[in-house]
């Protein structure tokens, strides 16, 4: 017999702390504005009214890394941009996640040359890779929901 049966109709919900925190994290995840190439157009489209990413609690793109907890690397990262990317990642407060959006960010894409980093996972740890060139807004939203699933499964003992 749980406490909820004794509480009756008082409008109180009981839940594990782990679940409550993970729920809060997934439903108000603020991505950082970090568009680097054509993937950024699809990312904007994912937020606009046709696809409406705000249904999943992500309507707010933050221009500052200090206020965001998700970095969507949308586009190719040049070798000169890589230190900037790493610095922005380091400036984000914990907990933080990274989605590598599109082929260029994930593995270099068609740009196998001196200028482009061959996969942003050389610079920052990536949680979800979204394939596509560029991925459609549905694909990005699917990637975000996959990340949500991952975050919901996080354990309290793993929190730093």
């Amino acid at each position: 017999m749980g406490v909820e049966q004794k509480l009756g109709n008082m409008g109180v919900v009981t839940i594990k702390l782990e679940q409550a925190v993970n729920w809060a994290r997934t439903n108000a995840m603020w991505p950082m504005l970090f568009g680097l190439a054509c993937c950024a157009i699809e990312m904007m489209s994912a937020q606009a009214s046709n696809y409406d990413m705000s249904r999943f609690g992500m309507e707010l793109m933050r221009a500052s890394p200090r206020q965001s907890d998700l970095m969507i690397v949308a586009g190719r990262v040049s070798r000169k941009m890589a230190p900037v990317l790493r610095r922005l990642y380091d400036q984000m407060p914990d907990p933080k996640w990274v989605i590598s959006m599109g082929d260029c960010a994930s593995c270099g894409g068609v740009f196998n040359n001196y200028a482009i980093v061959q996969g942003v996972d050389e610079v920052v740890p990536v949680d979800v890779y979204v394939a596509g060139c560029p991925p459609r807004p549905e694909a990005l939203i699917h990637g975000i929901l996959t990340l949500d699933e991952k975050v919901r499964g996080e354990k309290i003992k793993d929190w730093a």
Partner: protein, 170 residues
């Protein structure tokens, strides 16, 4: 052909021992490196080529003499004429005089040529890389620079490349 252009070509070929050639209506003058600054000044001051529209280079590797051509595209706004100059330079670490004193916008063009081809410009006020990071090794647009950065992954060599590839670890 336009009279201004004709007289300009004549003057440059006579004064600086240049050879002119024509391809589809575009005139090119081959000039030796020591004359490039003077011929640019003459073209600007006497013949109205006020604008350096583009400056770039070509690598003819594995040829060594000349290995590179530095190309200047001049534009005359007052006469509506175009003229291109080519300077052959030999060797793997070449240096030619800068035309920054004649056309100030050559500053960034020459930095780009230095960055991409490794041609140094003597007397340049700020000879740094412009596109690549400052600590970069090599000059990417040279023909002997490696074309691809990473071997392409297939199912048969995936594991091997995956083992070599660096990953960020927290």
């Amino acid at each position: 052909m336009d009279e201004t252009l004709l007289s300009a070509i004549q003057a440059i070929t006579e004064r600086f021992v240049a050879q002119s050639s024509e391809f589809r209506g575009q005139i090119t003058l081959m000039i030796s490196p020591e004359h490039i600054v003077d011929s640019c000044r003459v073209l600007r001051d006497e013949f109205g080529f006020e604008m350096l529209a583009a400056q770039t280079a070509v690598d003819y590797w594995p040829e060594q003499a000349p290995r590179f051509h530095v190309i200047y595209q001049l534009n005359s706004l007052s006469h509506h004429q175009r003229l291109s100059l080519r300077v052959p330079v030999a060797g793997n670490a070449p240096a030619i005089p800068t035309v920054e004193s004649v056309y100030p916008n050559a500053n960034w063009h020459e930095r780009e040529i230095y960055d991409m081809f490794g041609i140094r410009f003597a007397g340049h006020s700020d000879m740094r890389r412009i596109l690549m990071p400052y600590d970069w090794v090599g000059h990417p647009l040279r023909k002997d620079y490696p074309l691809g950065y990473e071997e392409v992954q297939f199912s048969f060599n995936y594991d091997e490349i995956d083992r070599r590839k660096p990953y960020a670890n927290e």
